[in-house]
């Protein structure tokens, strides 16, 4: 760690990073107090695209809120779909058919890969490498095509229903997915790892930069790849198994270094693990219905429940409080990036501007999800 240069307060200046800035990936503003190129203090300012999703939930029925979920984290929309569905299913006591759970797993993992691919491209773009973004988009395009085929939309999927999924998958999707797995597996080592991961400039930019200790993660409640990059083997899919994850064989990649490179490697490995999960789910895919019998208007009994899923960025939690009515009495959406970003202020101190932006990129922020 480089020590910040000691200085009197009047030698610092405030740099407004954002709300429109190439590195903030959206409308995030970071108020940086700088001493030359060193950051003395960093304060993220949020809320530029706050849309009050939680109030919208209270105003409608359970089903009416469904299309709001993909609008939060538009990059891993299905995870948010699933989190909300799980909360409602838990409250109403709905059992999801096995085939639907498999389909959910396949699609949500595809979505996770697409989210990680986009992050990968955008992160390298933050570091000044332009080309990988397009390679990532090339592969992501295939996922979008596949998901479009079953869900009907390309980005803001609203595919899951309480008690199942909207649409059954067909052979075209299955063969397409298998082909995609083969394709990505063949491209990963050359295009992704040889070109970028092994690049000396990239390694120098990421190694020993932005060290986040497990203690800091715990203090701020950081989850997902950020936490796993700090060496903690925590994944909701394994620690709090939901859906069909207990039946599948996959690992949780984790790296103890806690620097940007560790977070980078976690995500890269997660892509491979997701491929494994999809492959196994496709092999085991059972027959049967994809939608349970669910009453037309859901009226879960009064009470509250909590459901958490592993979204691409970390734990997405839904606290649903019902009062026996047609819609939620209160819906709290615990978004992963909100917590992940909150530690930025602490770790950015004394960092170079360029490094701080690398760290911000490595947190994988999606601003609509933070602001909700």
């Amino acid at each position: 760690m480089t020590e910040p240069i000691l200085c009197t307060p009047d030698e610092t200046f405030v740099l407004n990073l954002g709300p429109q800035h190439p590195a903030t990936h959206g409308v995030l503003r970071v108020k940086l107090t700088m001493d030359g190129e060193y950051i003395v203090e960093a304060e993220p300012v949020l809320g530029y695209i706050h849309r009050m999703h939680e109030k919208m939930a209270e105003n409608g029925t359970f089903a009416q809120f469904m299309p709001n979920t993909p609008r939060m984290d538009y990059l891993s929309a299905l995870s948010f779909n699933q989190g909300y569905c799980m909360a409602v299913e838990r409250a109403a006591g709905i059992e999801v058919p096995e085939r639907a759970e498999y389909i959910r797993t396949i699609t949500v993992e595809l979505n996770r890969i697409s989210s990680h691919l986009l992050w990968w491209g955008a992160f390298i773009l933050d570091l000044g490498g332009f080309t990988p973004l397009l390679y990532a988009f090339d592969d992501r395009e295939k996922i979008l095509d596949l998901l479009e085929h079953v869900t009907g939309s390309r980005l803001t999927y609203c595919y899951y229903r309480f008690g199942g999924v909207y649409n059954d998958i067909d052979d075209e999707f299955i063969t397409g997915t298998r082909e995609f797995i083969k394709r990505l597996r063949s491209r990963m080592p050359t295009l992704y790892h040889d070109l970028v991961t092994g690049n000396i400039i990239l390694i120098k930019r990421l190694k020993d930069i932005g060290h986040i200790s497990p203690e800091v993660c715990r203090k701020y409640g950081a989850t997902g790849p950020v936490l796993r990059g700090s060496g903690i083997e925590y994944d909701v899919r394994k620690n709090e198994p939901y859906s069909i994850y207990p039946e599948l064989d996959f690992d949780i990649p984790h790296y103890p270094e806690g620097d940007c490179m560790a977070r980078y490697m976690v995500r890269m490995d997660e892509i491979e693990q997701s491929l494994r999960i999809i492959e196994q789910s496709l092999d085991k895919l059972p027959g049967g219905p994809v939608q349970a019998k669910v009453p037309k208007t859901l009226k879960p009994p009064a009470g509250d429940c909590y459901a958490a899923v592993e979204a691409a960025k970390g734990t997405f939690g839904c606290r649903l409080i019902c009062d026996g009515d047609k819609g939620p009495y209160r819906l709290k959406l615990r978004s992963p990036c909100f917590s992940n970003l909150s530690l930025f202020g602490e770790i950015a101190e004394g960092m170079l501007l360029a490094d701080a932006l690398a760290v911000m990129g490595s947190l994988d922020l999606v601003i609509p999800e933070i602001d909700r």
Binding site: F13, L15, H21, P22, A23, E37, I124, L125, D126, L127, G128, G129, F130, T131, L133, L134, Y135, D138, L195, V196, N199, I201, L202, K204, R205, L352, L353, A354, D355, L357, G361
Partner: protein, 338 residues
């Protein structure tokens, strides 16, 4: 006085035309090259293969209003883009395109190019400062510290070549490398002296790295690192102010490529003795070098400013000094032997 005073003037006009056209279509080349590197097509809508895209861009830039934001230093803000362009164009005068195709023989053409390059640095500095924008200011500070750091190893490597060739005249240097590619300074096979044979490839690497850094190109584009500083010193510039900066940048690349081609690749000399040499070879070489610039830019991520400076101060400068010393020793030894 030289009576052929019109020659440099006409040449200058020619060079200006060349510069404008070149900068515009280098932009096209860059976009097309980037496109193909990124497995997409690149510009294709305007004209065949998007060849008229630069025209469209130029018209767009020219018809836009030159916005002078509030709080900027008006004069310096307007002067800076021009200042970025002038030295770049002027240094073209010093470059011999072939044995006959040059403005006028300038004895110290290498020195002239470096002298003019230092003015170009001033443009970024003033433009960045006058913009009254913190990003621009940081960018100006960065680019100056970067240029100062990289000018030193670059000059030292040039001095080794000057020592070998005994001349600061680019024409003279090019002529010394004539007669096949094995005579070019970069190739260690059959050079004129032992010193060249051993040292030149390393020297070339240092020189090329420095010229990438001096022209503010990725992976050393600290001054306009868009994820950190938006567009650096050009953040506040629109229309032709921006256009001039861009043209200046492309011209600097051309000058850098020309210099590299002459110093290390024999200038207009053809690679094999039985093929006639000429300006075409020179153009081919510089465009190959420019392609390398583009290729590097679209392949590598950006370095970080302090690591960049460390690279210069801790690696390139000591190495280039060692090379300088070695060259001097070799030349002396050869002098004694012969």
């Amino acid at each position: 006085m030289d009576t052929s005073i019109w020659r440099p003037i006409l040449y200058l006009i020619g060079v200006m035309a060349f510069a404008g056209v070149n900068a515009a279509w280098l932009g096209w080349c860059e976009r097309k090259g980037a496109g193909h590197i990124q497995r997409r097509i690149g510009p294709k809508e305007v004209g065949p293969y998007g060849l008229l895209q630069p025209l469209a861009d130029g018209i767009k830039l020219m018809t836009k209003q030159l916005l002078v934001p509030q709080g900027v230093d008006g004069i310096l803000f307007r002067v800076a883009p021009v200042l970025a362009m002038i030295p770049a164009i002027t240094s073209m005068v010093a470059i011999p395109f072939s044995a006959t195709f040059h403005a006028r023989p300038i004895e110290l053409s290498v020195l002239l190019i470096f002298a003019l390059a230092s003015i170009g640095m001033m443009a970024i500095l003033l433009g960045g400062w006058a913009s009254n924008n913190k990003y621009s200011l940081i960018s100006a500070a960065r680019s100056v510290s970067q240029n100062v750091a990289y000018e030193i190893p670059m000059l030292i490597t040039v001095i080794t070549i000057v020592m070998l060739s005994g001349s600061m005249n680019l024409e003279e240097i090019a002529l010394q490398q004539k007669g096949g590619f094995w005579n070019w300074y970069i190739f260690p096979i059959a050079g004129q002296s032992i010193a060249q044979a051993i040292i030149m490839p390393v020297s070339f690497l240092i020189f090329f790295t420095c010229s990438v850094a001096e022209t503010n190109r990725a992976p050393f584009d600290m001054a306009e690192a868009e994820s950190e500083l938006i567009a650096g010193h050009m953040t506040e510039y629109g229309s032709m102010g921006f256009g001039l900066f861009m043209m200046g940048e492309y011209l600097n690349i051309v000058v850098g490529a020309c210099l590299t081609a002459i110093l290390f690749f024999g200038g207009w000399d053809s690679p094999l003795p039985f093929i006639p040499s000429g300006v075409l070879w020179f153009v081919l070489k510089i465009y190959l070098l420019i392609f390398t610039f583009i290729w590097i830019r679209w392949t590598y991520p950006r370095t970080q400013i302090y690591k960049l400076l460390n690279l210069s101060w801790k690696i390139l400068i000591p190495f280039s000094l060692a090379i300088l010393l070695l060259t001097a020793v070799f030349i002396k030894i050869e002098g004694i032997l012969i």
